[in-house]
């Protein structure tokens, strides 16, 4: 009797489970709903720098010749292979033959030439036109072979042409890129309700369609962190790859329904100093500021402990990383003595802070740390448009806090006095020239280490921490990136665990 009853309830609950799983599985197994804080403005990564355009479209709808994986390695995409000439100036790309655009047009070498010529044209509005500067010309050898001739060697060329800015588009559909992009990727653009959601559906003609598990990817735009958190908790969202509020993560970590990830990005957060303006032109003052800063306290206070400190301008996950955290150990007394010696003790220094949580929170802590070392530090919170105008364009600032999110961006220090750092040193410019033209990886890493040492030694800025990428995912979700070496992330590998 007892046995019968037991099996009866067991059967009933198994049945209930089957219903519950059956109903969720229909929608859940082949679709995923992902939250983004920033909504794209247009859908064209070749004419707008908005990061979410790359995050959604690049290497999902549109593809480039190459692609970069989660560890930052360059892999083939639309180009199946390539050869580089002895002198490093000629790249010959062999293109895939099994590719068509979503509207059925054939993909061939003419599309590659068209896309590059368009990005390099005089009236081009490409947001990173600079990456095309080394390209002299693009030549179609045959429908499936393209040759690119460079003016000078470029160590980052294959990495750069993986970007969304170098997406391959067809002349037939280029006019609709901003609103309904037609590409060659694993997903087609289906629809976009501005302010609410954007939907991608699986491209049945994709060359590896049988490996793509998600039939539908729905991107929801939720800018408010509390709303994002509620949407995850209520099951409206399956994932939030760039979760904006580190302080809200503990509740997800404590909840077995979720997985929380902290991955590295290419974003170095720095306390930028206006090297062209006294007293920041004095290396001793910059060093004193570096001594006054306590990175651990900043990371604890501003990032709730979720970030990796940096001692120079290079990401800790990179192959050329050197640990320079101890170049200027935190020492308030020493900083005070150095400020006094330089004759700036008690003077006013203003930190103009852009409206990003990592920056505003860090700003207040650094203000307290500089004050402790005898500086009359002030924080001025400014709006992003103001920051771009006054700090970035007009160099009207003492110090600011900003994340540099581009990969391979040590070249910023070789951009001359007109760049907002106000810094120029022929020695470093020369070093960067060698780095950016050195195509042998080992030799390049050696040079990159020298670069890191130079920047730390001369305390060009205060180097704070690497911006983390915090993600919250449904625990059953697989195949996503926790690190983010580039602005895009291919979603074709996503799937639900059995």
């Amino acid at each position: 009797m007892a046995f019968t009853r037991f099996s009866g309830t067991g059967l009933a609950s198994a049945f209930a489970l089957a219903i519950a799983f059956g109903t969720t599985a229909v929608s859940a197994e082949t679709s995923v709903s992902i939250g983004f804080q920033q909504e794209p403005t247009t859908l064209d990564p070749t004419s707008d720098a908005t990061a979410s355009i790359d995050g959604i479209i690049t290497h999902n709808v549109l593809e480039s010749l190459t692609v970069v994986n989660e560890s930052g390695e360059v892999l083939p995409a639309l180009a199946e292979s390539w050869t580089i000439s002895e002198d490093g100036l000629t790249y010959r790309f062999k293109l895939r033959r099994d590719v068509t655009f979503h509207d059925g047009t054939e993909f061939d070498a003419e599309d590659v030439k068209f896309s590059f010529d368009r990005a390099m044209a005089e009236d081009s509005e490409n947001p990173t036109k600079g990456i095309f500067n080394p390209v002299e010309r693009v030549t179609v050898i045959d429908p499936h072979t393209v040759e690119m001739t460079l003016k000078n060697k470029d160590a980052f060329f294959l990495f750069n042409i993986a970007r969304g800015d170098a997406s391959i588009v067809a002349p037939e559909s280029v006019d609709q890129l901003k609103t309904a992009p037609i590409g060659t990727g694993a997903y087609r653009f289906e629809g976009w309700t501005r302010g609410d959601r954007l939907t991608l559906v699986k491209n049945p003609d994709y060359r590896a369609a049988d490996t793509v598990e998600m039939d539908k990817v729905v991107i929801r735009f939720i800018s408010d962190p509390a709303a994002a958190s509620a949407a995850l908790l209520s099951g409206e969202l399956d994932a939030f790859p760039g979760f904006p509020a580190p302080e809200m993560l503990p509740q997800f970590e404590a909840d077995p329904r979720f997985t929380v990830t902290m991955g590295s990005t290419e974003g170095e957060v720095i306390l930028a100093m206006n090297n062209a303006k006294p007293p920041f032109d004095n290396v001793e003052v910059r060093r004193a500021i570096s001594h006054a800063i306590d990175r651990d306290a900043i990371i604890d206070g501003a990032m709730y402990g979720r970030a990796t400190p940096i001692g120079s301008f290079y990401p800790p996950h990179g192959p050329a990383y050197v640990d320079l955290l101890d170049t200027y150990p935190h020492d308030t007394d020493k900083a005070r003595a150095m400020f006094e010696e330089a004759g700036v003790a008690g003077s006013t220094m203003t930190i103009r802070v852009p409206p990003f949580p990592y920056a505003t929170r860090s700003g207040e802590i650094i203000q307290a740390q500089l004050s402790a070392a005898g500086i009359d530090a002030k924080v001025e919170n400014v709006e992003w448009g103001f920051w771009l105008d006054e700090i970035y364009k007009k160099q009207n600032y003492d110090m600011t806090i900003i994340a540099h999110t581009s990969p391979n961006d040590m070249g910023n220090f070789a951009r001359g006095k007109s760049y907002f750092y106000g810094f120029e040193d022929p020695e470093f410019t020369d070093l960067w020239d060698r780095i950016s033209t050195e195509t042998d990886p080992d030799a390049r890493n050696d040079l990159l280490q020298q670069g890191q040492q130079y920047l730390a030694e001369n305390a060009i800025h205060g180097f704070l921490f690497q911006l983390p990428r915090l993600g919250v995912y449904d625990a059953r979700l697989r195949g996503y990136w926790s690190a983010s070496p580039v602005l895009y992330e291919p979603r074709a590998s996503m799937s639900w665990a059995e």
Binding site: E125, P127, K178, A230, L233, G235, K393
Partner: protein, 315 residues
């Protein structure tokens, strides 16, 4: 009466013109280059110049203003800098949601406030009155965004009765209505708190008047007196506040739409300011200004309908 309306219409047009000048001027002195905002800090000056030329930002300010006004008069508000589609399309796309939200917010606010306010007045000085006044005091003190979060935590996260945000569109009316319940509640609870207090004091004032005593002496029931005699005579201050609150409701949707990630005009305004999409911001501010001016206009007309004595006074 017609003189009164003509004067109001002239005032309406003049206000809109003044708003257009102010908005345009503010947008132009505001720091922030749209081209730099769109193309980002890694862009070359050459690419930014090309974009500025395409957007017409290299033209003199006066010329751009005239262009914009002439276009606006024909219903053409230009093309959004950042979205790359006509601004009028953006507004048309989002208007139905904001309109539904503001309307449902208004209806719930008025119903709730009248019931609570009149009930409190009827129980003047007794526990029911205190209770309602305490609640309304709390309603005034609680910011709408915080109340929204509490509602979401309870009804979406804990109980899972309603979605935490988003709007599926009117294609599925049931889902659309469900999506509007929490935002409407968040809007209306806060707004009705103010209105309930006004209703209560207006009703109390009228209840002291002689005709109410007469009605009572005639033998009408207290409920009949409250709703048929007291409320209609207390309407003038209530309508004034409702008119003022309409502006609050429209601006309230900006906050609410962000908390509930609803694709409405408020969220569009928010995004456009961040994107330095000046041409969209201009059109939206004009639109909101027109709404508020229209609301005030309607309130003025409503006075005349409610209180015939004002007709003579205003000519």
């Amino acid at each position: 009466m017609s003189y009164f309306i003509a004067r109001r219409v002239a005032g309406f047009l003049l206000t809109l013109w003044a708003v257009s000048v102010v908005v345009f001027a503010v947008m132009n002195v505001l720091p922030g280059d749209p081209a730099l905002t769109i193309l980002g800090i890694d862009s070359t000056e050459e690419a930014r110049a090309a974009l500025r030329a395409r957007l017409g930002l290299d033209q003199p300010v006066v010329l751009r203003y005239l262009d914009w006004v002439m276009g606006a008069l024909r219903g053409d508000f230009g093309q959004s800098y950042s979205f790359g589609v006509p601004v009028s399309d953006l507004i048309a796309e989002r208007l139905p949601l904001t309109f539904s939200l503001a309307l449902s917010g208004m209806v719930v606010t008025v119903l709730l406030a009248l019931v609570l306010g009149v009930t409190a007045a009827a129980r003047h000085g007794r526990p029911g009155d205190w209770g309602i006044m305490l609640l309304s005091q709390m309603g005034i003190a609680i910011p709408a965004f915080w109340l929204s979060m509490l509602l979401v935590l309870l009804f979406a996260v804990k109980l899972r009765w309603l979605p935490p945000g988003g709007f599926p569109g009117w294609g599925d009316p049931v889902a659309a209505l469900r999506a509007l319940v929490l935002p409407t509640a968040a809007l209306a609870l806060v707004q009705s708190a103010v209105l309930a207090r006004v209703t209560r004091s207006a009703a109390l004032e009228v209840m002291r008047l002689d005709f109410v005593r007469t009605a009572r002496a005639t033998g009408f029931g207290s409920r009949h007196i409250l709703w048929r005699h007291v409320l209609p005579n207390a309407l003038v201050p209530i309508v004034t506040i409702v008119g003022l609150q309409f502006a609050g409701l429209v601006t309230g949707t900006i906050v609410i739409e962000n908390v509930f990630y609803l694709p409405g005009l408020g969220r569009l305004l928010f995004q456009s300011i961040a994107n330095r999409d000046l041409i969209t911001v201009q059109a939206l501010v004009m639109f909101f200004a027109a709404l508020v001016v229209t609301a005030n206009f309607l309130v003025d007309i409503a006075y005349v309908i409610i209180d015939p004595r004002l007709r003579e006074a205003r000519g």
